[in-house]
Point group: C2
Chain length 191, copies 2
């Protein structure tokens, strides 16, 4: 116990996701996850507070990662450009492992408590992006609206991308969705 295990956290997260997808989130015990990863329950609880957190491993880096993408956008980039840079950064993360994204999405959809956890993580991400936009001089409410809309575009796009195996890459789906949203908002038939 307590000895160093190479990539213990990653092994536990992968074992958890596999077991949740195979036999259900509720039916899976921490003991099974640890056994599948070749580790102990004690090691599991050194890395994760509960089974939910093992499912969302990595998402704690999302707010900072996207805020940096906004910070690093060129000085003359519009708020939309900056949000698009953040969405591209998010897409690149997801596309590092599309199978993991697909499995996680399937598991999250099965339980309200998991959908809730995902939504609050996305809300935290939107808040971080809004803060980075304000730091670029974007006023409110434009900063929060651009950030929240960006996250909404991301959610809708990931769902489409996962649902359609013939889809282009996620970044392409995101850009299509942004264009579609701009059309929707530009088309106002009544005064």
């Amino acid at each position: 116990m307590g000895r160093w295990e190479p990539d213990a956290r990653g092994r536990l997260a992968r074992a958890a996701l596999t077991l949740y997808a195979e036999q259900g989130f509720e039916q899976t015990t921490v003991a099974e996850i640890a056994a599948r990863a070749g580790l102990t329950e004690r090691t599991f609880f050194r890395h994760f507070t509960d089974k939910r957190e093992a499912l969302f491993d990595g998402s704690e880096q999302l707010p900072g990662h996207l805020a940096r993408a906004v910070e690093q956008a060129p000085p003359d980039a519009s708020p939309l450009d900056a949000v698009t840079a953040a969405l591209d950064a998010m897409a690149a993360l997801v596309q590092q492992n599309p199978e993991r994204a697909r499995l996680r999405n399937t598991v999250v959809a099965t339980r309200a408590e998991l959908r809730e956890r995902e939504l609050i993580k996305l809300a935290e991400t939107a808040a971080a992006v809004a803060g980075a936009l304000r730091a670029r001089g974007v006023p409110e409410p434009a900063a929060s609206l651009a950030a929240e809309t960006g996250v909404a575009v991301f959610r809708v796009s990931v769902a489409r991308w996962l649902a359609g195996p013939g889809q282009p890459d996620l970044a392409g789906v995101l850009h299509e969705a942004l264009a579609s949203l701009r059309d929707v908002l530009a088309t106002r038939t009544r005064a």
Copy 2:
């Protein structure tokens, strides 16, 4: 026990909100809520499964209410017009009792489990609005994007409206936010 109590549900929900705001959500017991409402714990559990649900009383009607607003928009209304009609319907509900909205918002902000519950209720509302848009012939992803964006605009607007006591009515804040979002999405400085 078991006798009919006039507006028991409403009395319990109001007592719960008052106590959560006065002494904290976690610190409030169902026994205290029932006593404040002049009812029994048993009556509380006939109406609500738990303390969280008492806080969100009424929100179960939101998805259907907004979907109807979309359905009832004129046949020639654009998707944005239909979503604006849904947002106006939502604003009218909130403005029936601004003090309740303010208190609820304050309580929700105190605990992650309450923010999560609120987010999933808003996600359900967005899904209902998207379904009503599809029924009007709006294709995907435009339907989901318009609905999700509408909910994002609503969240940002309510926060602004509650934060600024000198704000105009919520519908006015919503329309300003929609205009601001259209500006943000229209301004793209880079190719």
